[in-house]
């Protein structure tokens, strides 16, 4: 909602473009089957199109609206999402505009009780978190979509029917330019929490709803505080409810405040009530200068998802597949990981580089990630919005003891989640090899990054297919070289990254590990091999290369061998 007298797109800081409907080839009677049709041009749909385009796969992207999202909504972009944006070539405007951060503070009755510090190894290319309004996220992705000649973007194009068969999917699309049938080999449903694709196919989200409600308000103010997440428990500015404050670009601040039980939703959403509640919260944090109201909405936490993220040739990505509570900032970030996951798999299948059984791994991997978020989010949601008297008393006890004692403070940790580890995925068949390592990243987890002397980063050199990081003395041994050659034959996109110990570089293509930092990060001795998937998760790691297992893992990741 916006203040009285303002239209839904009258923003204080963002100029909404207007995208016309286009006359498309289907309306001229051209019959075509597109490799992929994507329903919904939000951040997730556009990212999926860009991941496919990176592999040279064409897609048609339809959206019923004529512009970007009307409110800010998602604002936190986590480090793994930045890597996805990097690899689809869209990162530059994000780095220019977004506000990076890694700290947070929690307060109880005005006193600080918890200092959040998200790990930021000096080798990483990106900070743990960036704040950016969803409109900008969509604009920057749309600019990248516009620059690609492989993405056919169709605004004002609404899905009115869908028929999924064994050999393809037919969509009926309604647009001001006319109605037409759109045929595709595969469909990605990125059409959001109220997904029409989902309801047309008779599928339903299942899970839990939480009672506690929050008002989310974006305001503009000149307020001097670093980009940190601030959580206020029992603040005098909002008695009986928690308050969260996040900084966004353009002097926009996100103020979330919890409603008390039994408050009337229509009443609390009236503009004058929003103004007086936000005003009291700002007075409480010492902001006495003027401020302007941009946009507001109401929110309650849900943990809902589909039983299966795939139905035949239709794949559900983002909110169409799962709704997670906001407190772990995993809605947008998990959606982007969905888009990346199905994107590389589908691209390789469509190119004939992978068997279509690879697509079977999408739902277990990404639904697994959702369930992991649920487990953590349920804990943070019970802390943020205690559902019963027992939980309220336990929280008050923990928070009040936190004023003088260290031991309960960690309970106030917002659990800004780390990316999911695919350790139990069918694509991670040799996770047991982790036992050979004294440390380093586990099989299935996102690979750590390393800064190289020239300022570039190790993962900048990872390929679009499988990547082997091999720790060697000077150059790969004859045996290792034979293995790398074999991997190159299985996967035409395979990239080998030999890492040579300091002073031992004899292979021109090897990356010199001048101070031994890369080996330390990966807990790798000479001879160790890490095999990465196209999404930079670790498919497996071996202290000493076991060619049979490594080749089999690569084959499974290409669907040419069933796990």
């Amino acid at each position: 909602m916006r203040p009285a007298g303002k239209g839904p797109l009258d923003s204080l800081y963002f100029s909404y473009p207007h995208f016309p409907a286009r006359r498309v080839p289907e309306l001229e009677g051209v019959k075509a089957t597109h490799p992929v049709a994507i329903v919904g041009a939000g951040p997730i749909g556009m990212t999926a199109a860009l991941v496919l385009a990176r592999y040279g796969i064409r897609s048609v992207l339809i959206d019923r609206k004529d512009t970007f999202n009307d409110g800010s909504r998602a604002i936190c972009i986590a480090r793994p999402s930045m890597h996805i944006l990097d690899r689809i070539g869209a990162i530059a405007p994000f780095l220019d505009k977004a506000l990076g951060w890694r700290f947070g503070r929690s307060y109880y009755r005005g006193e600080q009780i918890f200092r959040l510090e998200m790990p930021h190894p000096p080798n990483e290319k990106y900070l743990p978190m960036y704040n950016l309004q969803q409109q900008y996220i969509e604009k920057f992705l749309h600019d990248a979509v516009g620059a690609s000649n492989l993405i056919d973007m169709r605004w004002q194009s609404e899905l009115s029917a869908i028929e999924s068969r064994n050999d393809g999917v037919s969509l009926t699309v309604s647009s001001p330019a006319g109605d037409y049938r759109l045929d595709a080999d595969y469909v990605l449903a990125a059409d959001g929490a109220r997904s029409p694709v989902r309801s047309m196919l008779g599928l339903r989200l299942k899970g839990d709803n939480y009672e506690g409600r929050y008002v989310i308000a974006d305001i503009r103010m000149d307020h001097d505080f670093p980009t940190e997440r601030r959580a206020f428990f029992e603040p005098s500015g909002n008695p009986g409810g928690t308050v969260l404050i996040h900084k966004q670009p353009d002097d926009i601040w996100r103020v979330d405040y919890q409603l008390r039980e039994g408050e009337n939703e229509d009443e609390v959403l009236r503009e004058e009530n929003i103004r007086s509640r936000v005003g009291a919260i700002l007075a409480d944090i010492g902001h006495t200068k003027p401020w302007e109201l941009e946009w507001w909405s109401v929110y309650s936490a849900n943990t809902l998802c589909l039983d299966d993220y795939r139905l035949g040739r239709v794949f559900f990505i983002g909110d169409a597949a799962h709704i997670v509570p906001i407190f772990g900032v995993r809605g947008l970030n998990n959606g982007l990981a969905d888009a990346d996951n199905i994107g590389w798999k589908l691209a390789r299948v469509l190119h004939g580089e992978a068997d279509d059984c690879l697509l079977d791994s999408y739902s277990p991997e990404r639904r697994g990630a959702t369930l992991d978020v649920f487990a953590n989010a349920t804990k943070s949601t019970r802390f943020m919005t205690p559902p019963t008297r027992g939980w309220r008393l336990a929280r008050e006890a923990a928070l009040s003891l936190s004023l003088k004692h260290e031991f309960p403070r960690e309970l106030a940790n917002p659990r800004q989640m780390q990316p999911y580890t695919y350790s139990k995925s069918p694509l991670t068949p040799y996770a047991g090899r982790d036992a050979e390592f004294a440390g380093g990243p586990l099989s299935g987890s996102a690979a750590p990054n390393a800064r190289l002397p020239d300022g570039s980063h190790l993962l900048d050199y990872a390929g679009d297919g499988m990547t082997a990081i091999l720790f060697c003395e000077g150059a790969p041994t004859a045996e290792q070289a034979a293995l790398l050659t074999q991997l190159g034959k299985i996967d035409k996109r395979f990239v080998a990254l030999p890492i040579a110990r300091q002073g031992s570089v004899s292979d021109a293509k090897a990356i010199a590990d001048t101070d031994g930092e890369i080996a330390r990060l990966f807990a790798a001795e000479t001879g160790a091999l890490y095999l990465l998937r196209p999404d930079l998760h670790i498919a497996g790691r071996w202290k000493t290369a076991v060619p049979g297992e490594i080749v089999q893992t690569a084959r499974i990741c290409l669907g040419s061998e069933r796990p």
């Binding site: 804990k379 019970r382 027992g390 960690e410």
Partner: protein, 61 residues
Amino acid sequence: MSVMPFEDLESAYETLATAIDSAGAEREALFLTRLALVLGHELGDLELFKNSIATALEGLE
């Protein structure tokens, strides 16, 4: 005093919250008093028990 790992403390927190609900609003004070007595007995150390009582009383509003 022993220090509980955070994961255990968190489970304890959850178990306690759920138990307060099981006791019901009318009996929660009785339940919590019984719990304190049981814990004091398990602790087996009067000084420690008195210190814990003082910690819990301090700053109570």
